[in-house]
């Protein structure tokens, strides 16, 4: 196959086009802006997601930097309390809903089809709609912050603070509608990934041969479906309480303030695993290339991933230990929260065994994996402490929790994400990221994380609550806060090094060939960056490490049309070829639908009549999207 891929493609005017030229023509996007708006190529859409998510990451980081500067000294006067409330609300909301979850799913949307040997993601037009909805939601949130109408009730929107009585104006509605936008996008991404994994795997890639990263994304997507559906519903209930006086959460009129907390955390805790499981997937994807062996204990790691997916839904009440709702019953949630440590511990031990029995190479991705261990494990240990009701009563809603959650999410999510970016950047762009800048980025990031967040453990124990815009002098918190602020600036420097590295690599980075790391999974079997059709001849998989186990005479998939977009659908369990499926062409309707949805949702912040006008607005693009098209005769 690589031989075919390397064949010169001189286009003779007289001879019939080669197979590859026909594929190029069939799968190419229209040129220019039109192609940009209509593309349904999973790689272009996922790349957009990744870039947008990193822009939001940078914005949320600037936001955090302002907060840390405000807190550098007691009674700081950088921002006023109202602005600070918007900043911490937007920081949390942005980092969870606009960065962490979308960026993980986006890397999944890019890599999963390549790693399972598919030509495109399942339901590519839906995928396009997902991105536009996400962009609209993110724009809404940040525009509102710039206009000084940013949400200010906290990313968790506890009622009654978030109800009209205590939060008049449109700030909370911005939050609720942003949630709706991003959850539409998240649910779409999850459906894409689930169906791609189950129905689009290359022949021979049985479930037991699936790369661990694909397993991780699959379990993540399965977690996204119920949890994001719940938060999307809950945020609409909140919006309805505010807009049309339903009383779901209004205590004075028969509602329940604790109901919101159950709904929010029923989503909110699985959310942590939605960020962490892809992180584990990145670790499992990077390690083979950097230790020269497959991940040790494949069945154990996969079972641990699945177990985490189930247990993740049984721990939400540990966010509510001090609400006074449960006494003895709380023990169940303590036990569940402690038990979820076990599958994670199994994975960590398996990775260490992988390194132990392999031949480690100190590339930048591997450094970030080591940073993941050193940072995430601290967060895991403090997580066990938070599972205990007595201990939680002390440190709940204190800076200890801020420390814990950043150790978990930066350690378990962002360290592996950076590893993944350094690892897959050559595949995405055809260029290598700089090694020296990468190491500077890593060390600044590692030191910055410890310097910023370790002191926060101590601050929490010393009685400093979260979400305070300032603190009094003389409480003994000054030195620790100043240290954390210095750390935040180190982190800013680190992200700047990363951004510079990316820009520099795009312009003059070393060229990458198809497989610069000598890795084991299918994405490395196609050129970097991959052509729109991913694989000229979709591969057939012969073993767990698809490339390392491939024999020279390995079969490939033949018989798919080159004149129209066609993909191979395989069976869910054994990946036996099942049928050929007509993959949709580029379309403008996902974009137009997203525009209609945006107008609809924004109008819904102001009037319930938007349901009527919005539905009318949505109908035409949906009809046009679904209108049956006669197949052109070829």
């Amino acid at each position: 196959m690589t031989a075919v891929a390397e064949a010169p493609a001189d286009a003779g005017a007289t001879r019939a086009p080669t197979e590859r030229e026909r594929l190029e023509r069939t799968w190419a996007d229209p040129p220019g802006l039109w192609g940009w708006l209509t593309t349904v190529d999973h790689k272009r859409i996922a790349a957009r997601y990744v870039v947008t998510a990193f822009v939001f990451f940078a914005l949320g980081g600037i936001d955090a930097l302002v907060m840390r500067t405000q807190l550098a000294v007691p009674e700081g006067r950088v921002v006023d309390p109202d602005r600070y409330a918007q900043l911490f609300t937007v920081h949390g909301t942005n980092m969870m809903f606009l960065f962490a979850v979308p960026v993980m799913l986006a890397v999944g949307l890019y890599m999963v089809p390549l790693m399972v040997g598919a030509r495109n993601v399942a339901f590519p037009r839906l995928n396009a709609l997902g991105y536009w909805a996400y962009l609209a939601g993110g724009t809404l949130l940040w525009a509102s912050l710039l206009l000084n109408t940013g949400p200010d009730q906290g990313w968790f929107s506890y009622v009654p603070l978030a109800l009209s009585e205590y939060s008049p104006g449109k700030r909370v509605d911005v939050w609720a509608q942003m949630i709706t936008f991003t959850e539409i996008s998240g649910l779409i991404s999850a459906v894409e990934i689930v169906v791609t994994v189950l129905k689009c795997r290359a022949p021979g890639m049985t479930l037991a041969r699936m790369p661990i990263f694909v397993w991780a994304m699959f379990v993540t997507a399965m977690m996204v479906l119920p949890s994001l559906a719940v938060i999307a519903t809950a945020s609409q209930m909140l919006a309805m309480d505010r807009l049309v006086d339903t009383h779901f959460f209004d205590v004075d009129r028969g509602g329940d303030a604790i109901l919101w907390q159950h709904l929010f955390w029923w989503f909110g805790h699985p959310e942590v695993y939605i960020v962490f499981l892809p992180g584990t997937g990145f670790v499992s994807a990077v390690l083979p290339a950097f230790t020269r062996r497959q991940v040790f204990g494949y069945p154990a790691v996969v079972m641990a991933t699945i177990a985490t997916g189930f247990l993740g839904f049984g721990v939400w009440v540990h966010h509510m230990f001090v609400s006074g709702v449960l006494h003895q019953a709380g023990s169940f949630f303590t036990a569940a929260s402690v038990l979820i440590t076990i599958p994670t511990a199994v994975q960590i031990f398996c990775w260490i065994a992988t390194i132990w029995t392999g031949r480690p190479r100190f590339g930048v991705p591997f450094l970030f994996v080591l940073g993941f261990f050193a940072t995430f494990i601290v967060g895991g240990l403090t997580g066990v402490m938070l599972a205990s009701i007595p201990l939680d009563q002390q440190v709940h809603d204190s800076y200890f929790v801020v420390a814990h959650l950043h150790y978990v999410l930066l350690g378990g999510g962002v360290f592996p994400l950076f590893a993944a970016v350094y690892y897959w950047f050559p595949k995405w762009t055809g260029r290598m990221l700089g090694e020296r800048l990468g190491k500077a980025h890593f060390w600044l990031w590692f030191v910055g994380v410890q310097l910023t967040f370790f002191p926060m453990h101590l601050l929490g124990l010393a009685g400093m609550p979260r979400r305070v815009y300032t603190y009094l002098d003389g409480l003994g918190w000054n030195g620790l806060n100043a240290t954390a602020t210095v750390g935040a600036w180190v982190l800013a420097l680190s992200v700047a090094a990363f951004a510079f590295n990316v820009v520099h690599a795009l312009r003059r980075g070393a060229r990458a060939d198809a497989d610069p790391w000598g890795a084991d999974t299918l994405e490395w079997a196609t050129p970097s960056p991959p052509p729109p059709y991913n694989f000229e001849r979709p591969p057939v998989v012969q073993g767990r490490a698809a490339l390392w186990s491939r024999t020279p005479d390995a079969p490939v998939v033949v018989g798919l049309s080159t004149e129209r977009r066609e993909i191979l659908v395989t069976t869910a369990y054994d990946a036996e070829p099942d049928h050929r499926h007509r993959d949709p062409d580029p379309s403008i309707w996902p974009f137009v639908t997203a525009l209609s949805v945006s107008v609809f949702f924004v109008a819904l912040m102001f009037t319930p009549w938007a349901v009527v006008s919005g539905s009318a607005l949505l109908l035409p693009p949906l009809l046009a999207w679904g209108w049956p098209k006669r197949e052109r005769a070829t």
Binding site: P81, A85, Q153, Y158, P160, L161, Y166, V251, A257, R292, R293, A300, V322, S323, G324, G330, T334, A335, V338, L339, I342, F349, C350, I352, A353, W356, T357, G358, R359, L370, F373, A374, I377, V378, L381, V384, M385, I389, P390, L391, D392, Q393, Q394, H396, D397, S398, H457, L458, L461, A462, G463, P465, R466, R467, V468, Y471, L472, L475, G476, G518
Partner: protein
């Protein structure tokens, strides 16, 4: 490498904290109450269990990483079946150890939880105090079943040492959370629920607390002082607080009282023994006897009092206390009056 340094840092950090000069009166690790001490004991168990786990894992990682040095990149490793079996045994052993440690912790946690509940029951006749969270201050009502023995104050909770205190946590608006780390963990004030928190101070002192659930703009400045007093001192204080405000002692204070009653003050604040009986702001009957102003935010001095009355928005932006543009003589009289409310 740095990993080992970090490991030592983690193990040493709590020790460092215990010995260092952090504030003594708002810390969970300097307990002065039965419940907080009990939690603190569990608190030390957690790092004791975690302390070996972290360096051991990091050490394993360091050895694993350094084991073969920078071996040539390309050849793939096919570990021998014997090596894989050895690794399997290590992974299984480490997992088993993790499970054992977790169950020890779980058991300690359950015992501590039950002990805390038990502490809340038995013992002496408890003192009942209703603490109501209001944006952004605390109403404190001592509820004695004997007639004429109940009274209201604000932002300061005085309790007798050694006697259990049952706090009835209510809210007038949004969710707040009562947290005085030196005495106990926190508990939320939730609309429509009646949460209680039982605590007992074991030594006299001042223990500061702060609202721990985000409750709006001035969440950061919603503090409370808990003053634990020897029982007899407490009884004397209680008798003083039960009394109405003394009538103004001189003409300046009398003028101040007139300013208080005819101006905006009386629209929100009560002073027992005068016609002022509004409840939307803190009760000021004995405000001069309190340690701080503006909910644990400002020391109770004349200068801060004047600043707070004239321009509360610059001290606590967003507070519901409006600015008061008083002429200097009226302000002086008002200050004299309020300072007389001992």
């Amino acid at each position: 490498m740095s990993v080992a340094r970090r490991a030592r840092g983690l193990a040493a950090a709590p020790l460092l904290l215990a010995g260092c000069s952090l504030n003594r009166f708002q810390s969970a690790l300097d307990p002065a109450g039965t419940q907080a001490s009990r939690i603190e004991r569990l608190w030390w168990l957690a790092p004791a269990l975690a302390a070996p786990a972290y360096p051991l894992t990091m050490a394993a990682l360091a050895v694993a990483t350094g084991r073969r040095g920078r071996a040539p990149a390309l050849p793939r490793v096919e570990p021998s079946p014997a090596a894989e079996r050895r690794a399997t045994r290590w992974v299984a052993a480490a997992t088993g150890a993790t499970v054992v440690v977790l169950f020890v912790f779980l058991a300690a946690d359950l015992f501590t939880g039950r002990a805390l509940l038990a502490l809340g029951r038995g013992g002496d006749r408890p003192l009942h105090v209703r603490v109501t969270g209001v944006q952004w201050w605390w109403r404190v009502e001592y509820r004695d079943p004997a007639p004429g023995r109940s009274m209201t104050t604000a932002n300061e909770l005085r309790i007798p040492v050694g006697r259990p205190v049952v706090l009835e946590l209510e809210t007038e608006d949004v969710i707040h959370s009562f947290w005085v780390p030196a005495l106990h963990g926190k508990r939320d004030h939730v609309p429509g629920r009646h949460n209680t928190l039982t605590l007992r101070a074991d030594r006299p002192g001042v223990y500061r607390g702060q609202c721990a659930e985000y409750c709006g703009l001035q969440h950061a400045k919603m503090g409370i002082d808990v003053v634990a007093m020897p029982p007899r001192a407490f009884d004397a204080w209680y008798a003083g607080q039960l009394a109405d405000a003394a009538p103004p002692a001189d003409s300046l204070r009398a003028e101040g009282m007139r300013a208080f009653l005819s101006g905006p003050c009386a629209a929100c604040h009560a002073v027992r023994g005068t016609p002022a009986s509004a409840q939307s702001g803190p009760d000021l009957t004995h405000v001069a006897s309190r340690r701080s102003l503006a909910a644990g935010t400002l020391p109770n001095t004349r200068g801060h009092l004047a600043g707070w009355i004239v321009d509360p928005q610059s001290l606590k932006p967003g507070t519901y206390m409006p600015p008061n543009d008083l002429p200097a003589p009226a302000l002086r009289a008002l200050l004299a009056y309020v300072e007389g409310l001992r």
